[in-house]
Symmetry: C2
């Protein structure tokens, strides 16, 4: 039995709790932490609709006192936001698996944070891993694995075409859905329209795994303008308006394009015949041309990835580790 605590009970945390409760003979769920008062006093069973009477609590110290082997942190995107959670977990002697996009390759956004937490984890003999679908799999781990059958690589191109329809108003705003082209351009300029978070991490993961030095990353964010009416539960877009953001990032080494990541995100792409999917092209010897259709679902894939690393993290080397340091990832079959 692996003792696990879950920190964060949003959509991703709830999904991971379902995964964990499907493995009662493998995982001992020692506690569930959430800082939002409205979540407290409810049981996990009430939160996700199942038969579990563990209370959701803000009292993380009492949960960490139960000495979990692994704390899964599914709370926020930035290193500064999760620092206290990671620090408390590591000091309690727990390994950490988190879905913060920046944690997939923390060197990309904050070398100082990375060095500090790497040292802290080593001091306590535990590992810190960031994972998820993107970053963590589609635009980094998968192209890295496919690169292993190449004799020579000139360039890696990875594309993820997905549908934003399941998401709520926050995501719609951050992607510029429902804006005019002018509003979109203004939103990109003032930072309110951000597109995807994780390109620098994916490029860093690929480059470090392959031994490439990427000295420049150029991003573009372009509006995807619909020619047809598109509607979801949280957005309604008319022809001529913006239905999503085509965000790209190119990684260069001494002026040569080595990594090209393309991530157009929009609502209901099928209305204009756009097929969703994950695509990897390696230009080299041999070429690789891989398509996964439809795309791996971002939500399920992310919390599955966290859960499936739980049995592997205990054997990882202490410190900050990435999906490229870990063994080949794999599904963890529940003991029956």
């Amino acid at each position: 039995m692996i003792k696990v605590a879950v920190w964060g009970t949003g959509m991703m945390g709830q999904g991971l709790l379902g995964y964990i409760l499907d493995r009662p003979k493998d995982i001992d769920l020692v506690g569930v932490i959430d800082r939002h008062p409205e979540k407290h006093g409810r049981t996990v069973g009430e939160t996700i609709g199942c038969d579990c009477d563990i209370q959701v609590t803000a009292d993380f110290a009492s949960v960490l006192a139960k000495k979990p082997d692994v704390v899964c942190i599914l709370t926020a995107s930035n290193l500064s936001e999760i620092a206290d959670q990671v620090e408390a977990s590591v000091k309690a002697g727990a390994n950490v698996i988190g879905i913060a996009e920046t944690l997939a390759y923390p060197q990309a956004s904050d070398a100082e944070w990375t060095a500090r937490f790497d040292a802290l984890a080593k001091q306590h003999g535990v590992s810190i891993l960031g994972t998820g679908i993107n970053p963590g799999f589609v635009l980094d781990a998968l192209p890295i694995a496919m690169s292993s059958i190449c004799l020579r690589i000139d360039r890696i191109e990875a594309t993820r075409v997905n549908d934003l329809a399941p998401f709520g108003p926050t995501v719609m705003e951050s992607q510029g859905v429902g804006t005019t082209v002018e509003q979109f351009e203004a939103g990109v300029a003032d930072g309110s329209i951000v597109g995807h978070i994780g390109f620098h991490e994916s490029i860093g993961l690929i480059a470090s795994a392959l031994g490439w030095e990427i000295d420049e990353i150029v991003e573009t964010r372009a509006p995807i303008v619909t020619t047809v009416e598109r509607q979801t539960a949280s957005a309604h877009v008319m022809p001529g308006e913006v239905c999503g953001c085509r965000h790209t990032a190119n990684g260069y080494s001494k002026g040569e394009l080595k990594i090209e990541l393309i991530h157009p995100q929009q609502i209901r792409p099928e209305l204009e015949g756009v097929e969703t999917g994950d695509y990897i092209n390696i230009i080299g010897d041999p070429n690789v041309s891989l398509a996964n259709r439809p795309e791996i679902p971002g939500g399920k894939g992310t919390y599955a990835s966290v859960g499936n690393y739980i049995p592997l993290i205990g054997a990882a080397k202490p410190g900050i580790v990435t999906v490229a340091d870990m063994p080949l990832p794999r599904f963890w079959s529940p003991t029956k």
Copy 2:
């Protein structure tokens, strides 16, 4: 610099030598061994057409005396055939990477051999790894990696559709190319038509990685009968004759089909509109539907895989290891 010796200078060995000589700042090629007298006295340069004056030799002891870090063994398919080579390398303190299909998961064909060499490698503090395209990647490592984003898996189906056209008469015979249907059936019955080697290894790799117990493997070998004339350098098949072998292996757990591997191999499939490729379907939550077209070339992919594990094998745990124990595989970029 990693000191590497290459054992075997057939097509695969020659390909790996090219890979190695492309990395002069990373790999020190300490020697090249081949047991065939007609290969001796020739230099590597004469053998593969490049600028390298290392002599191919049968005197493996003199090569192993140079204390290679890694010996790459590309000689034969069966554990009994490579045993002496592995033993000599391990006793010389070298890690071993081999392409013998059976070495990808030696437990599948010979538990006793596996235990003996695992103990020997541990005694000498080195690792033994089997890899290649198939087994080693397409029908095992890749589906294992894709499984990592699943919450639940009912069944894994992996298919490799390839073209036998580049191969010579030995492969044509072992696949039954050019036979009548009656001759094909007789060849399967008497063991002269074998189809693919590696299904038991791929099923063993997947099952052990995912924690499944496979208690029965059922194989089928069916003739692929052409309706059009098909010709290659080493085969000529008329309509109604056999142009290849559709070999499948189903792995069951308590009567339930869990792993289905499908590997139709034929000459010039495009003449009847058959597209070559590698296909992975995971039936579960979520489903995965991945296609890599055209297929990863078996030859290049195999020696690239061997080469790309060279910088990783030194940090592996001692004993027999598999691609599922190793870190995420990746291309090894040559130092410029």
